[in-house]
Amino acid sequence: MVSYNESDVARLKEIARSIREDIVDMIYHAAMGHPGGALSSVEIITALYFHVMKIDPDNPHWQDRDRFVLSKGHACPALYAALAERGYFPKDDLKSLRKTGSHLQGHPDMNKTLGVDMTTGSLGNGFASALGMALAGKAAKKNYTVYALLGDGELQEGIVWETAMSAANHRLNNFVGIVDYNGLQITGWVNSVNRIEPLAKKWESFGWLAFEIDGNDMTQVLSSFQRAKKMAGPVMIIAHTTKGKGVSFMENVAEWHGKAPNKEQLEQALSDIRGGDQ
């Protein structure tokens, strides 16, 4: 059971801060990438990799481990920073993001990067792959849990709803989804580009148990995973977040979906992250 106390929350907040620094730094060095949606997902990824998931960095292919699928694959700087921090590979590697010969691809690659459970990036497909992992767990009578993180804009992909229907039909209680609901996609507000609301009702009508949280509040994130564990799922956690969270000039600005900071902006971003109350 994923219980937690105040010192866990404080420790995880510090890790989240460090991961945010790594995100902006690595995207600066790559001169390309997606800071907005990586920063919004930090508390979720931090909680999973540093508290919730049953994993072993010394045995990354352990068959009974919990799985994490970053279906919104463009947020991979957050995942890479978490994996490095967790010891899957040296933190120095982070600066090689997107560069020729790097094991850190522009979107996650399960064969190149140790600790990445599934190749993702083309939206919607990671969620369906996670369904297959959960079915495989059921077939093998293993008790691992599969966590899949989706973007809010990603929910506009049809395959997401094919997967939603199937997961409920197979009564998968080893399958937990999280929507990183930061509200923005490349061209603007998700709910004006192609409305996804009423979101909780949508998931419920597809046979999922759904509830809403503040996805940038570490305590709420931890409690949501605790709650999900107790539910006979599949469970969808709708995590309301802020795109670009922690960096003043990136917050809620769609332009920062897929743009790298320059040197000056990097310094400002790092200063925001170090000084911010997270």
Binding site: M110, G126, L135, A136, G137, K138, A139
Partner: protein
């Protein structure tokens, strides 16, 4: 009447499933003789509903957990609706998924163009890591099933709706992935390379050509990728002209693939029998083969022309 290749493959897989661990995902289609699989092997089959894209990506996920996964779909959906899932989530991560893809070519007949896969090999052939096979009869289909359970990596098996005549010996038949089978070796006048349902037609054509004084050799290219380049080059160099036969577009299929190899390494005269950049339509397969210039007469004429000008 022999079993259609799709049923032969399915029946053989059911027999193999007792001793081989694999999962089966389907999308409300069990048209390959796997109807009883879920009953015989509880907990090993999952129906994902009519959702091919979801099934392919889910198969990739299940394979990433160390399973071998078979998926079943119709060729048009396996190769086109779920094209990206096959490419980016099965082939790119090089996962252990076998795609059983049924209803190839004009042989589908009455269902018409939307349900006839006439370009799946061209599409699938361009994906790294993918092996592509197509049986020429029931015996070959059963051999492919047996080879598939020990195979590791992405595999695309193209099977057929209607039965085709038995052309391979049921006893002593040798199937080796990636190695074309010599079907007849009457002589060196022309090399005929065929695949799928056209191998049987090629065999008949070879006999008729021999009666006309033209002595061909015929090969069954059951493996379309990796293509047996050694056999292609050896036969082309020996015969100095090549005819390809396929129930598929000649753009990028067996004919196109053979032309790529010969163009670079052994340029000889060649002709390609197949669908010539048009869509199929409903009808009796034999009527369609005539209409699309793929009949026995068309094959014989092409062979005679090649031999005459080489």
């Amino acid at each position: 009447m022999p079993l259609a290749t799709r049923f032969a493959l399915g029946k053989e897989l059911i027999a193999l499933a007792k001793d081989h661990e694999f999962l089966l995902f389907n999308v409300d289609t069990k048209a390959v003789g796997l109807e009883e699989f879920g009953t015989l092997f509880p907990g090993r089959e999952y129906n994902l509903g009519i959702a091919e894209q979801c099934m392919m990506a889910a198969a990739a996920g299940a394979a990433s957990c160390g399973n071998k996964v078979y998926v079943v779909s119709y060729s048009v959906f396996a190769s086109m609706r779920a094209c990206e899932q096959v490419r980016s989530f099965i082939c790119y991560p090089n996962l252990d998924v076998t795609i059983i893809s049924s209803h190839a070519g004009l042989q589908v007949g009455s269902d018409g163009a939307t349900h006839m896969a006439t370009e799946d090999v061209s599409i699938m052939r361009s994906f790294p890591n993918l092996t592509i096979v197509q049986p020429s009869d029931e015996t070959c289909a059963r051999a492919i099933a047996r080879a598939s359970v020990d195979f590791h990596g992405p595999l695309y098996i193209k099977v057929h709706k209607a039965p085709v005549p038995d052309i391979n010996p049921s006893e002593g038949y040798v199937f080796k992935l990636g190695k074309a089978n010599a079907m007849c070796s009457y002589g060196d006048d022309i090399a005929i390379f065929a695949t799928g349902v056209m191998v049987g037609k090629g065999l008949e054509a070879a006999k008729r050509l021999r009666e006309k004084g033209i002595n061909p050799c015929l090969y069954d290219f059951h493996t379309l990728k990796p293509l047996d380049e050694a056999t292609i080059l050896e036969a082309a160099a020996r015969c100095r002209c090549v005819l390809t036969l396929e129930d598929h577009t000649i753009l990028g299929g067996l004919g196109g693939a053979v032309a790529e190899i010969l163009g670079e390494k052994c340029p000889v005269r060649m002709k390609r029998i197949g669908i010539r950049d048009v869509f199929g339509e409903s009808g009796e397969p034999e009527d369609l083969y005539k209409k699309y210039a793929m009949s026995m007469d068309d094959i014989l004429l092409a062979a005679e022309q090649l031999v005459g000008i080489k």
